[in-house]
Symmetry: C2
Subunit: 225 residues, 2 copies
Amino acid sequence: MFDTDIHADLQHRLISNGFEHGEKLRAEQLKQHYGCSASTVREVLFRLASEGLVDFQEQRGFRVPAMSATLLAELAHLRILIEAEGTALSIRHGGVAWEARLTAAHHQLSHIEKRIHAAEDRSPFEGLWFQAELEFHQTLIAACQSETLKATHLQIYQRFRQQLMVADRSFDFISKNIQHHHAILVAALEGDEALTREKIHDHLARHLDPANQTQNPQASRSSAI
Amino acid sequence: MFDTDIHADLQHRLISNGFEHGEKLRAEQLKQHYGCSASTVREVLFRLASEGLVDFQEQRGFRVPAMSATLLAELAHLRILIEAEGTALSIRHGGVAWEARLTAAHHQLSHIEKRIHAAEDRSPFEGLWFQAELEFHQTLIAACQSETLKATHLQIYQRFRQQLMVADRSFDFISKNIQHHHAILVAALEGDEALTREKIHDHLARHLDPANQTQNPQASRSSAI
DNA sequence: TTTTCTAATAATTTCGAGATTTTTGTGGAA
DNA sequence: TTCCACAAAAATCTCGAAATTATTAGAAAA
């Protein structure tokens, strides 16, 4: 197994409930899971630290970043800023091909969200939903013609997702999300940059206020994810 | 010497003419310069790679990113986006203390720029100017109340600076820069968010068009830095 | 001459042991 | 009981050698 694979796998676990918030990441433990040496794990952890998905302190090792309402709000703010800009650029430069791809991405996401809405046990859809939601938001900025903007957006998106990971997801957010995603799609297809920016803002607005965040999962009603 | 120091030193060399564009970074060479093992150097290089200051390819080692007019334009675009947003937030939340600090930072930068303008040999001022210019632009966003925005801005700023590093600096940009920095200061102190955004845009606008960039230093007239 | 295969060289990557530092655990004094 | 010092344990960090992979150089064939 290459260290690239370890990087990809750890990245995935770090943004989708693979670890607890604040959990210590020991190279000695992980080397058994991946069947390689501690040095190799250490190398990967350093890379993840520079991406912001892992906290590093000299002589004190690595940790999963703790849950922080302030950090989540800051990440939401940056996501709105970058995603709105990227989408506006896509509207300008994307053309019909981009509109088609966006419609497809939304269709897929919408389909999964409706199935989740109807299902009894929602857990088997989690992975699918994550993938489709990421694909939709990446497609929004896909035609912005700036690889740097896309890469920066992905970093922020992943850290945002990581902040929201919790063991017991309420998943009651779905009906609102369906409306949000649809509103963004419609505004983008109409070519209305200002309206699209507004809808992207609305989609993430509830995460902007630190006081709004539910620190305790069992007390959550209408937020989370 | 701790690896943190090596990281800081390499980072500095990478954004201020310490290496050639596209130059190969061999761990075996650098370990002699820093008096440590190749593994330690390798670790630092990985961290710098995640920051975007070094390019990494599996089984092909590390390189200083090549000069790219497209990349510079993309970085300029992102800098404008983030710096304008951060400054607008600072205007809203900064208060008198921030205005005072911004005035001080501008005074210092302006002082150095005037001395450079008058001097025969400009090279001894390079380091001072770099520091003062960074301090001014960081102060602009200092009161935005988002550590994440500040950290993201620093990453983009450093990569932007790295793209502009060249052996023979013409330094004829100075008179324009003095005006730009002053215009930003005045707009910010007046509390005019829209005007401040515009002036930040104007300051970096010439880097936005890839066709505008001078790939060949000796042919440069009015651009660079 | 140009192309292709092979051998030699050089670079990258992995690994585990030893050195250093932090954390944990125990016992004694205030 | 609470605090501090000291010892033991565990974790982190550094290092150089061995294994793997890429690059170069030269010879043979087209």
